[in-house]
């Protein structure tokens, strides 16, 4: 008896080609794959209760204008850049300030010392708040690097800047975060 043949998940490029040909299932698979990290990115950017709405808007724009995706950055990174723009648009329309992602304070490590846990939670809350105060470009570069683990090269492609500029934005973001945390 032979083992059932494994069906590897299709690559993003295949799914994008599928959507371009009108396959809704391909678009749904891409959303299933990439919506959670995009939501994380938006929450850390201060989207608050609007995370899901902005995720939706970002994917709508991405699939509607899929021909603008050239593949210089990964699909996920491209959608994150779109999500950042969608969040900025929403804030501009509503005149809203960034919202501190409170739920991140609730992450609990049961094995940790209670005092250390309190200190760590306080630090998380302060960093979360400080990140939402960063200028747009610094915040985007910082989160794409520190939260999403992207290379400067990929960040530069997604944000339509150079690798050198992305490094400088990151440098200033960290410098500003350190200053805010020190005060």
């Amino acid at each position: 008896m032979t083992a059932p043949e494994a069906h590897p998940e299709p690559a993003d490029a295949e799914l994008i080609a599928g959507w371009r040909a009108g396959d809704e299932g391909a678009a749904a698979t891409l959303m299933r794959r990439h919506a959670p990290p995009v939501a994380r990115y938006l929450a850390a950017s201060g989207a608050g209760d609007d995370v899901e709405d902005v995720v939706q808007e970002a994917f709508f724009r991405a699939f509607r204008y899929i021909d603008r995706f050239q593949g210089a950055a990964s699909f996920r990174t491209w959608v994150m850049a779109i999500a950042g723009n969608a969040l900025t648009d929403l804030r501009r329309r509503r005149g809203r300030r960034p919202v501190l992602p409170l739920e991140d304070r609730e992450v609990v490590d049961a094995s940790a010392d209670p005092h250390d846990l309190l200190v760590e939670r306080d630090l998380e809350a302060r960093i979360a708040h400080a990140v939402t105060l960063l200028p747009r470009m610094q915040r985007d570069v910082f989160l794409l690097r520190a939260q999403q683990g992207l290379s400067y090269d990929e960040i530069a492609s997604a944000l339509e800047t150079s690798e050198g500029a992305a490094r400088v934005h990151y440098h200033h973001a960290v410098k500003r975060l350190k200053r805010v945390l020190r005060d």
Binding site: L42, R64, D104, P135, M137, Q138, V168
Partner: protein, 130 residues
């Protein structure tokens, strides 16, 4: 607090939101909107004349850039971000300066950041970095 510690904490930000997002609901809503919008938008074909005009504009811009900015030899840069600044163009330096200041920068009441060349922008950035 060091950079590594900040990065470690930052890597966990938004974790709950990532878990909480209802992917099926998002997917259904996006596909419904796309259906009513007519699916993916097809790019409009660019006419030959439009392509030619765009090519001329790019060449003119490149020539202006080479003449006005490209041959500037600034002093050697120093400081924490200095080695990285050296390779950036005027637009990128302006973008970084914009992100460092809260209010739009206007110098001497008449000159704005847009009026500065790459060398002047790099110097200003160094001054601001301290």
């Amino acid at each position: 607090m060091d950079e590594r510690h900040i990065e470690r904490v930052a890597s966990q930000l938004g974790a709950r939101a990532g878990d909480a997002v209802d992917v099926d609901r998002v997917s259904a809503a996006v596909l419904a909107r796309l259906r009513s919008a007519g699916g993916a938008r097809r790019p409009r074909p660019v006419s030959r004349w439009m392509a030619l005009a765009a090519g001329v504009a790019i060449m003119a811009g490149a020539a202006y850039y080479t003449f006005a900015v490209g041959d500037v030899q600034g002093p050697p840069l120093s400081g924490t971000a200095a080695p990285q600044l050296a390779g950036l163009n005027s637009a990128e330096l302006g973008e970084i300066l914009d992100s460092l200041v809260v209010e739009p920068v206007t110098l001497s009441g008449q000159v704005s950041l847009d009026d500065l060349n790459a060398e002047q922008l790099a110097e200003l950035l160094q001054m601001m970095e301290g």
